[in-house]
């Protein structure tokens, strides 16, 4: 048996609710069960009395529940009277009434119009982000250039740290992923070429696909996921903890201090990650060629050697530097945009990755057009 006996009971054919000795969290469950079953009866009355005459103590949470029930009843036209409230109950009731008197912000109902508005809104947000990012990039570029002109001002220790974190840390996963992609692509290409006995050209297609497009892109996507998000989280947290404000009032160039080392580090490691991705992808093609198309490794290598020009590798590494700049900028920008608390940091991390990858692919499209003009014609 619980303290204070029965916490609540119904009287006078359901027009009176009599509460027991205490409304406490111990008997909250039973109160809830009581109202769940009694609501039906109560709602059929025009007037209901909540009688607290034997009630000695009222805790906040169960009282809030009772209050909520009485509001629900009043909403469907039942008058509820709270009678014989003890002192603390009166204070609670008054407070609850004050809280609910304040008009709540109405949340927008779900509607087609709402969705259209939301889409329009997100379009506007995207435009704002693009504008902000553009301005931000200008400042980071300036900071980075001026830092490079005076190398003594760069925090090389941090550059090394981010190189290790973003570069060395990403080596295994990039190698494995690109090797797998090379294998799968080689298999699929071989499968199709076989049907018109052209499997000797498998190395050509693998080379172009991997070196031109897939390797730089996969490297960029992984770095965006690993480093871009880390940058956003790091700067966002610093922002929340007012560390960025502190740097600023110390007269320290926040861009030079926070952004430049990250940017330089990514610019240094990305070309090598891309080269690694190239090698891993080609290795995948080589292995699947030997296994599935009975193509000796020497033939594969000779063919790759023949179709690929040095510019293919250089171009991929060059464009990966552009990607590095994009990823570092987007990550840091999203971090700097954080206002408020931990939730915002999470959101910034997500947008750093999504926006980063989006921008990288956008840049990739533009660069691809340029490349087709720069590269000497294919050799067959």
């Amino acid at each position: 048996m619980e303290r204070g006996g029965v916490p609540v009971r119904l009287e006078s054919q359901g027009s009176k609710v009599v509460f027991g000795k205490s409304l406490s969290s111990d008997n909250e469950k039973r109160l809830r069960a009581f109202f769940d079953s009694a609501f039906e009866v109560l709602s059929k009355r025009r007037e209901v009395v909540f009688d607290f005459s034997s009630c000695r103590s009222m805790e906040t949470a169960p009282t809030a529940m009772v209050y909520n029930v009485s509001r629900r009843l009043e909403n469907i036209g039942v008058d509820v009277e709270w009678r014989n409230l003890p002192e603390e109950g009166r204070a609670l009731l008054a407070s609850f009434e004050r809280q609910t008197a304040v008009p709540k912000r109405i949340s927008r109902a779900w509607s087609v119009r709402g969705i259209v508005e939301d889409i329009g809104e997100s379009g506007r947000t995207a435009l704002e982000v693009a504008k902000g990012l553009w301005k931000f990039s200008g400042r980071t570029t300036l900071a980075t250039l001026s830092a490079l002109l005076r190398p003594a001002t760069v925090r090389w220790k941090m550059v090394r740290f981010y190189m290790e974190q973003g570069g060395v840390g990403a080596v295994p996963i990039i190698a494995v992923l690109c090797w797998l992609l090379g294998t799968v692509l080689g298999y699929m290409i071989g499968y199709q070429l076989k049907s018109f006995a052209a499997e000797a050209f498998m190395p050509d297609l693998i080379s172009y696909a991997m070196v031109w497009e897939i390797s730089p892109l996969i490297a960029a996507v992984l770095v965006a996921g690993r480093s871009g998000s880390a940058f956003a989280a790091e700067i966002g947290t610093m922002k929340v903890r007012q560390e960025v404000d502190a740097l600023e009032v110390m007269g320290i160039n926040v861009f030079g201090f926070l952004v430049t080392p990250k940017m330089l580090a990514l610019m240094c490691v990305m070309p090598f990650l891309t080269l690694l991705a190239d090698m891993a992808g080609l290795l995948g093609g080589l292995l699947i060629g030997g296994w599935y198309l009975d193509m000796p490794a020497s033939i594969f290598i000779r063919r790759v050697n023949f179709v690929l020009l040095p510019i293919d590798f250089w171009w991929g590494m060059l464009k990966s530097i552009v990607y590095a700049v994009i990823i570092a900028n987007v990550g840091c920008y999203m971090g700097m945009k954080v206002r408020g608390g931990a939730m915002e940091v999470g959101r910034a991390t997500t947008s750093a990755v999504v926006t980063g990858i989006f921008m990288v692919i956008l840049a990739d499209a533009l660069i691809a057009i340029a490349f087709m003009h720069v590269r000497p014609p294919l050799t067959i």
């Binding site: 947290t237 610093m238 903890r241 007012q242 560390e243 404000d245 502190a246 740097l247 600023e248 009032v249 110390m250 007269g251 320290i252 160039n253 201090f257």
Partner: protein
């Protein structure tokens, strides 16, 4: 620098988003004085501080530092920042740097001192706030009061002309807090440092202040100004009276 006023705030309006926090605030700080800002929690003291140190641009009005509008052009703010030190209410130490690196941060970035010199200065400043033993610890692994003191040491690292402290003694024990008051007084006397200090501690207010400015959240601005004793004994404003005599006003309420 006209009539010895180092900082002048003229008709400042400001806040966050659409929320107006400070409406038409004007005040000034004289060279070499300790000005204390008091007021109930949430009345806008930290917000005023943000405007004084140029972290946010006023909606309207001006903040003038040694004769120049902080927002006239970017170089004014840059130059001003090299002349002051700031202690944030939250401390705001860099979490990835240990205490010594935090304190030497302004030195690394703004002077051409050698590593050894910087270390000497940083250790000395930590010693002043009683943290010599914790120089190698990281901010998140020391207590809140220790973070506060380290942040204080960082604010003072370059012996700036002006110090802005947001609640330097909150979270400190009475003994440390008292010695901090003495330290503040001593720096002010010996180096002539101008100080703007936000604090809640009445004993500190009386111990250190040359002048007190009281803000109020309802009025969104300054409601009283004078020496601490003047505000306590002569003010007729009930808000000021109850702030400076909390026990008495409680009795009256009952």
């Amino acid at each position: 620098m006209d009539d010895g006023k180092l900082i002048r705030v003229e008709n400042l309006r400001g806040g966050y988003g659409d929320d107006l926090v400070l409406d038409d605030v004007s005040l000034s700080v004289k060279v070499g004085e300790i000005m204390v800002i008091v007021g109930r929690s949430g009345c806008g003291k930290s917000t005023l501080m943000r405007y004084l140190i140029g972290l946010a641009r006023p909606w309207s009005g001006r903040v003038v530092f040694s004769g120049q509008d902080l927002w006239a052009d970017p170089s004014v703010l840059d130059r001003a920042r090299k002349r002051w030190g700031v202690l944030f209410q939250s401390g705001a130490l860099l979490a990835s740097f240990n205490l010594m690196e935090n304190v030497s941060l302004p030195l690394v970035e703004l002077t051409r001192m050698s590593q050894e010199e910087m270390e000497l200065v940083a250790r000395r400043k930590l010693e002043v706030v009683g943290l010599a033993h914790a120089a190698e610890d990281y901010p998140l692994s020391v207590s809140g009061g220790m973070q506060k003191r380290a942040a204080l040491a960082r604010a003072m690292a370059l012996d700036p002309e002006v110090l802005f402290f947001d609640e330097p003694s909150s979270g400190l024990d009475p003994i440390t807090s008292h010695s901090l008051d003495l330290l503040i007084k001593r720096i002010n006397r010996e180096l002539g440092t101008t100080m703007v200090i936000v604090t809640h501690e009445l004993p500190s207010v009386f111990a250190i202040s040359d002048r007190v400015v009281m803000l109020d959240g309802e009025a969104k601005g300054v409601i009283a100004e004078g020496t601490a004793a003047q505000l306590r004994d002569l003010s007729t404003d009930p808000r000021v009276k109850s702030f400076f005599n909390p026990e008495k006003s409680e009795q009256e309420e009952q």
